[in-house]
Structures are given as C-alpha cells and as structure tokens.
C-alpha cells in the first residue's frame, strides 16, 4: 500500500508540469487580447508607455513566453509562487487570505450535502416507488436543474424580503466590535445562505446516486441469502446493502475533496462571499497570470491528492480492492 502511495506521489511531478504547461500555453494563445499592463492605459489615461514597459519588465513579462514559463516553474520549485500584477503582493498570501473562508464554506456545504443526501437516498431505495420516494425524486430533479447562481439569487431575494438572514459577506459590518460568542453566531448566520445554495442544492445528484447503487445491491443474490439466514432487516440493509453500495460514492467524495479550495465563483459573486472563486475570476479577467497559475496549480494538486485519498479509502472500505 505504501509503495503504491509513493508511486502515485512520484507521478505527481510530471503530471503537474504537463497541466501547468498546457494552462500557460492556453493563456498565451488567447487571441486578440492584451496583457494586464497594456489595459492599464484606459483606466489611467495619464500613464506613459515607458511606465507600462517598466512595469512589464519588473515582472519579467517582457521576455519570450517560453522563458516566462520556465522562470515561473523554477520559482515554483523553490516554493515561490510569484507576485500578483494587480496587487504587487505574493500570490501565496493572496490565495492564503481567502483560502480559509473557501475551506469553511466548502466543508459546511459538503457536510450538509452528504448528511442529507445519504439517508434520503437509502430511504428512497428501501421504499422504492412509494409516495415519499416519488416526492424525493421529483425534488432531486428540480434541485439538479437549478444552477447554483440562480438558487443563490432566489435565496437572496427571500432573505431581502424576510429580513431573517444577512444578505452578503461572511461577517457583519460591526463584526470587529463583537464579543467572541457573537462573532461565532455572526459567521454561522452568514454561512446559512451560501451553504444552502451550494450544499443543499447539490443533494439531488448525490441522493440519486445512493438510491440507484443501493437498489442494484438490494436486488443481488447475497441479499436474499442474508435474509434467508434470518438476519434482521436493519442488519441486512446497513451491513450488507449500504456497505456494498457506497463504493462509487467514495470515488465521488475524492473528487469533492479536490474541489474543496476551488471556490464557487458564481455563488461567491452573488452572495458577496470572500472566497477564492472571486479572486481567481477577477484574475482571469484581468490576466493576472501568476494568480491564475497559482490557483490552477493548487487546484490540480488537490484534485490529484483527492483522487489518491479516494483510492486509499476504497481499499479500506472494500476488502476486495488491493493495489499491490
């Protein structure tokens, strides 16, 4: 097992070089648009061409594209993610300043989604074609069909008219003047809307996965055997049914781990959440290349590690799976 993990980790290097090189090339090849520095001229008409050239040189962006990439790669090896053009601060700080917020939201919505979806999926499968199953399935299809930015807008509309929940952000304007227990309450109340928009609305898909997998298992011969042995229905479903039906969901969980720091730019923009998605979207629009590359790199590492974790977990939950 350990040899397997080490082998996967060694493969990480070439994989990341491939990913970053393709990303860099795509950014360079985007047709017809200028770099960050050239577009400064419309924002500050008084800026001189010499000033723009000096700025470009300061970030090494006056060199040939391939050399730019190799220099970037070299600094990454030294754990230096470079400086943002727009902010002139290290990219690592910029990403770090939002990463915790994004992680917090990802975790709450992940927990909310799984905590709701798994039990509902099991219930639906066990009570297949009952009225509740029908209602849950219908609800799931509605939730799957609504894009997250739209659900966020709907929630925003509701919150605006009911005055029950804060409309945007992660903290209130008077946050810094609050005692610590009110700070926790404040953050919790701000998390409700984005968690619903991201988490609860993704319940539908997960629930359907769980239902389908479990149904398939329930029809198999060993379930009949289990029942014939006289095991209680509870043991049959949870020890023999759910444990076998969960495998595909573990793989899915690995993918979701990879997306933990990806942010959700649409929901963040609508609900003013101070997460990474907003930062990266802004950087892409402004062509703040090092920020884009830094977040791509981080996303890729997380995705690869998430897959690895999923594979290891699969081996743990299913004794049939062996990697050596």
């Amino acid at each position: 097992m350990i040899r397997y993990i080490v082998r996967r980790l060694i493969l990480l290097g070439p994989l990341l070089i491939g990913i970053t090189f393709v990303s860099w090339a795509v950014i360079q090849l985007a047709p017809g648009s200028t770099d960050y520095f050239q577009s400064l001229v419309l924002q500050y008409p008084q800026i001189s061409p010499q000033r723009i050239a000096a700025l470009r040189a300061e970030f090494g962006m006056d060199r040939p594209p391939l050399e730019q990439y190799l220099r970037w790669l070299w600094s990454i090896v030294h754990l230096n993610f470079g400086y943002s053009f727009a902010y002139n601060v290290p990219v690592a700080w910029l990403i770090g300043s939002r990463a915790l917020n994004t992680l917090l939201l990802s975790l709450t919505s992940l927990v909310a989604a799984w905590a709701i979806a798994i039990p509902l999926g099991i219930y639906s499968a066990v009570h297949q074609y009952s009225a509740v199953d029908g209602a849950l399935s219908a609800g799931a299809f509605v939730a799957i069909s609504i894009p997250s930015f739209f659900s966020a807008l709907l929630l925003l509309y509701g919150a605006f008219w009911t005055h029950l929940l804060p409309l945007q952000g992660l903290t209130s304007a008077d946050f810094d003047f609050l005692p610590w227990w009110n700070k926790i309450l404040d953050i919790a109340s701000h998390l409700v809307l984005p968690t619903i928009a991201l988490g609860v609305f993704s319940v539908g898909g997960l629930m359907r996965y769980m239902r389908t997998n479990l149904l398939e298992v329930l029809r198999s011969d060993y379930m009949k055997t289990a029942r014939a042995k006289g095991l209680s229905e509870h043991t049959v479903i949870f020890r023999h049914g759910v444990r076998n039906a969960i495998n595909p969901l573990v793989t899915l969980f690995g993918f979701e781990l990879g997306g933990l720091l990806g942010g959700a730019a649409f929901v963040e923009n609508v609900l003013g959440y101070p997460g990474l998605g907003r930062l990266v979207l802004e950087a892409v629009l402004k062509k703040d290349v090092f920020v884009v590359m830094g977040s791509l790199l981080m996303g890729s590492v997380l995705l690869i590690l998430g897959n690895l974790v999923a594979d290891v977990m699969l081996a743990a939950v299913d004794p049939r799976i062996r990697y050596d």
Binding site: V41, P45, I47, V89, W93, L156, F160, G169
Partner: protein
C-alpha cells in the same frame, strides 16, 4: 513669524475667498498645533460609525503606487497633500501647508508647513518627509502615475528643503497645473519607509498584506483592520490637524467601516439593507430611489452633470490597415459632422439615462465649472443637416437607400464597444439605428474589454468604437488623449508629427496650457481646444449623465456638490 502669517492671509485672499470668514474670527488653536485648519459647519460631537462601501478590493496600501479608485478611495481616509481642493468652490486651498508663494517668473514655489504637524503614530512631520516623498515619486524604478503628471517638459520638479517647515519647488518652465498636481501627491512618512526604499524594496512595501497599523499617514483616520474581500475598519486619528470653529479636534466620526462587495447590485442591496450609509445612484435607478427615500430614511442628492464622457470615435490612422477609401471617409470632417448631426442624443438621454443626462458636444463636462466652454459648435439631432454635410463631401444615397461615396463604395463599417458596459452597448445600438437612417450600413459588435484595448493601443485594426473616459477638473491630465503624440490619441495615436493643422493647434494649446501659470490665460487656451474638438469631431460625444448619491438621513453638515460629493468635508460631518 509675522511675515509668514501675512503671506498666509494675502495668499488666501487671492486664491480662496470662502476661507476668509474663518481668518477674521479669533483663530482656534490646539496645544502644540497653533494653526490647525478650521472647517466651517455646525458644532457637533465625537462618536458613531460611518458605513462606507465599495466595489472590489484595494490593490495596494502604498499611496505612491495606488492608481485605481479601489485603492485611492480607502487611502483617502489616511493621507493628505500639501494643498487640497475645496469641494464646493473647486479652488485650491491650504492643506498640510499653511501658505505658499510663487516667484515672479512662475518657476519657484515656496510652501510653509503648519507648525506641530504629526504623523498618526506621533512622529513629527517635517520638510524631510516632503523631500523623501518626491525623491520616491521621481525614482525611475518606482512605477507611479504621479511621476507622469508631475513632469515639466520631461524634467522632474526640483525639491529643496529650506528649513524644517519650509520647502521650495523649482520647475524648468512655468507649470500651469502645478498647485493641483502637487496637491494630488500624497505625503508619505520617511521614518516608516526609508529602510525599504534604501533596500530597493519600495514596490513591495505597504502592499495589502501589511499589518494595518503599519500604514502611517496624516489623514482623519487610521486603519485598524483589513479583511480581504470583506472590509476595512478605521479609527479616528488623534493627531489630526483640522478643528471645528470652536477649536475641537476633528474628525467627529469615531469609526469608519468600509464594506467590500463584488458588484454594483450588491452595493445597492447593502444600502437598502441598512449596511451602508451612501450609494451612488445610477440615472436609471433614480426614480425608484426617489420613491423609497422616505421609507428608507435617506435623501437622494442631485449633483448635476458628472465628469465622465461617452463618445463614438472613428479610426483615422493610416497605419491601421483599413482600406484607403474608408480612411478617407473617417478623415473627412464633413463626414464626422454628419455622423454627429445624426446621433439622436435625446433618445440616448431618455433610453439609457431615463432622462437624467444632458447632451454633450465638446470634450469638457459642464461639471468643470472653471474650464468648461459652453460656446462650442453644437450638433442637435438633424437628419437634413447630416444629409447636406454628406452631400457636400460627395456622398450620394442611391435608390436602394444605401449611401455611397464619390467612387461608389457603399458606406459600411463596424462599431465596437466593451460588452461588459450595458450603457455603452445601449448607446451603440441607438447610434447604429441613427446612422442606418442616413443609409450607412453599420454593424454593431460589442466585445471583451481586453480585446478592445488591444485593438486601440496595439493592432489599430478597428473602424469605430464607442468608449468613455473619466474626467477631472484639470484638462492637462488629458494630454495623453489630446496631444497627437499621445498613446491614447485614439483616432491616430503616437504621431511623430501632427497629421492635420487642427491637431497641430491642439498640441500648441496643450503645451501653452501646461506652461502658463496664470489660470485665466490657461482657461482661454483650453477654451480654444474645446472649440477645435467640437468643430473637427474626432470624438462624437453623446450625453453626460447626472451624478446622484443617496445618503442616509443620519448626518449633519453635509454640503453636497457634484465635484466633491456628499462627503468632501468629511471630518466636520457628524452623526445626529
């Protein structure tokens, strides 16, 4: 000492009449600060929170490097200049400097700092800080837009310390915009930044990753907290150098909380939800906000025309690769005038700005009370005049309704704009329809902002563009647009020699305006420039929207103006 006070009075009576009232009353003073600046207004009390808001994060806390409003806005609470513009009169009045004199030849300016000024960490502010500030600004390795502006015929301004409170500026030629541009240069503390500067680290210093209390200034507030993408929190500066008429130290407001949101709609929600105290109302929203004023407990102030302009420009650049016949259309004054006559500005005002705008024909907004020239050639909507001008230039409308030039080429071209600006897209659509009624086949194709910039500044491959520029009081700031050598001289940028006689004239007036100190003579030069632009129509101007600001009814001493907004006298504003 007596001489200094005397110069102060003379200067103030010459340059800033409204200040006189304060000078005749017994002048308030503070221990250690004998001559603080007095702000007039009702006497208030200290306390309360002002809820500010803005779109997008600041990109730096270094005032020398800051050039977007997202950075200069938050830093406005923290830094001051030697002089400042009065929000009501738009005149320049004393700031950190209590007085100044200018030599007869207009090339040497002497400023005297107020006695007893302190940075907000308690360190005294001296002439050394000013010398340091300008040394940084003129450092070639430090990219800052102040250096581009504080540049007289290619030479930096010489800055010399006379004594701890006196400082002298020397320019190679008389420099017209001197006072305004020097006022824009915010002063930075030598004791905080010298080390980083000597180490060559200035460009990375005071970035947004700096601890807020490390940012030391002279402004009304100090920064106590910055949470990226969330908010900035400020506290009163206990060393501030302005007082009310009773000699009480300002500002009145105790805390400022500036919330950062991702978009304009979020700003609006924030205001309507009571989490912000002011909101810049767009013309199209005016009616709705006016209706909600009583229930929301706010007032909508009408600032009249704003400084921004929106216009159509046509490519006259021979290096653009456009076919010669197209260039001949766009280079033809009659053609451009015909286009201007055909633009239905009233339709733009009604449809885009819900009636809250004025038609514009020249390059300066009427918001600029001093430099605006109302007597320029105007092009009220008139299709007959447009057709006449086209006929005069040899264009003929055929029986199929298509306009053709003298050689028979049908007049067809593409107009572009940046698609992320809904106002501009709407303006472009109206212009397309207007030009169609002259028989021109115009394709309107909005595209990404970066693509547009690339075409304007790099490839020059475009035919027509609808664009806008933000403006200010000082016309000299627009030299990059108006001088034929400018890189933003959109219709034909970076000319080695002016291509036309009228561009030669504009170049001449811009050079004269920059090197003349007498403000009335400068106004004459810039009036000429406005007249030439209106007559030659390199930009077909459309309309100037009004500026509206909604402000919660919890403040006293608000004196709203279009130039200064509701909060230009912020230190003296207090909460009822």
């Amino acid at each position: 000492m007596r001489a200094i006070v005397l110069t102060c009075l003379i200067v103030s009576s010459l340059l800033m009449p409204p200040w006189i009232g304060a000078a005749t009353a017994p002048h308030p003073s503070l221990p250690g600060l004998p001559n603080p600046k007095v702000l007039v207004g009702q006497i208030g009390h200290v306390g309360g929170v002002f809820l500010d808001s803005q779109q997008t994060d600041p990109s730096t806390f270094n005032p020398i490097l800051a050039n977007s409003t997202a950075s200069t806005g938050p830093l406005g609470y923290l830094f001051d200049g030697l002089v400042e513009a009065n929000g009501k009169t738009t005149d320049i009045e004393p700031g950190l400097a209590e007085s100044w004199t200018v030599s007869k030849d207009g090339r040497t300016w002497t400023f005297v700092l107020r006695q007893g000024l302190q940075w907000d960490d308690g360190t005294p502010l001296t002439a050394d800080d000013i010398v340091f500030t300008f040394k940084v600004i003129y450092d070639k390795k430090i990219p800052n837009s102040a250096a581009d502006v504080l540049n007289v015929a290619g030479h930096p301004i010489e800055v010399t310390k006379i004594d701890a409170r006196t400082i002298q500026f020397h320019t190679v030629q008389p420099f017209g915009p001197f006072l305004r541009e020097v006022g824009n240069a915010t002063l930075i503390p030598q004791h905080m930044l010298q080390k980083a500067y000597d180490a060559g680290q200035f460009n990375q210093t005071w970035g947004v990753n700096t601890a807020p209390r490390q940012i030391v200034g002279t402004g009304a507030f100090v920064m106590t907290e910055y949470r990226p993408a969330q908010r900035i929190v400020y506290d009163r500066n206990p060393y501030y150098w302005k007082v009310d008429a009773h000699g009480q130290r300002l500002p009145y407001i105790q805390h400022v909380v500036l919330t950062i949101v991702p978009n304009q709609n979020a700003l609006r929600l924030l205001f309507q939800g009571g989490q912000a105290d002011s909101y810049g109302v767009r013309p199209a929203e005016y009616a709705a906000f006016q209706r909600g004023a009583k229930a929301g407990n706010y007032t909508v102030y009408d600032g009249g025309p704003s400084f921004g302009t929106e216009f159509l420009t046509l490519n006259e650049n021979p290096n653009s690769g456009l076919p010669d016949y197209k260039l001949r259309w766009f280079q033809n004054q009659k053609f451009r005038q015909a286009v201007s006559y055909a633009v239905d500005r009233q339709a733009i005002i009604n449809q885009v700005y819900a009636g809250h705008a004025v038609p514009e024909y020249g390059p300066e907004s009427p918001a600029d009370k001093f430099f605006f020239n109302p007597h320029v050639m105007q092009y009220p909507y008139n299709l007959q005049k447009a057709a006449d001008a086209l006929a005069e230039a040899g264009f003929k409308k055929g029986s199929d309704g298509t306009l053709r030039d003298a050689d028979g080429h049908p007049v067809a071209f593409v107009i572009s704009t940046n698609a992320d600006n809904p106002d501009r897209v709407a303006i472009g659509n109206i212009i397309r329809q207007d030009l169609a009624s002259l028989g021109m086949q115009v394709t309107f194709a909005p595209e990404a902002f970066n693509t547009l910039v690339a075409k304007l500044t790099d490839s020059y491959k475009w035919e027509g563009i609808v664009l806008g520029l933000t403006g200010g009081i000082e016309p000299a700031d627009g030299q990059n647009v108006w001088k034929s050598s400018g890189s933003l001289h959109m219709w034909y940028p970076k000319q080695a020699k002016p291509a036309t006689s009228w561009e030669t004239e504009i170049d001449r007036y811009f050079n004269l305006g920059a090197t003349t100190v007498d403000q009335n003579r400068r106004r004459d030069y810039y009036n000429q420039w406005q007249a030439i632009v209106a007559e030659q129509v390199p930009f077909v101007y459309t309309a100037i929207p009004f500026a509206y600001v909604a402000v919660r009814n919890k403040f006293e001493n608000i004196q709203f103006t279009a130039f200064g907004g509701p909060f230009w006298n912020f230190p003296v504003i207090y909460i009822k």
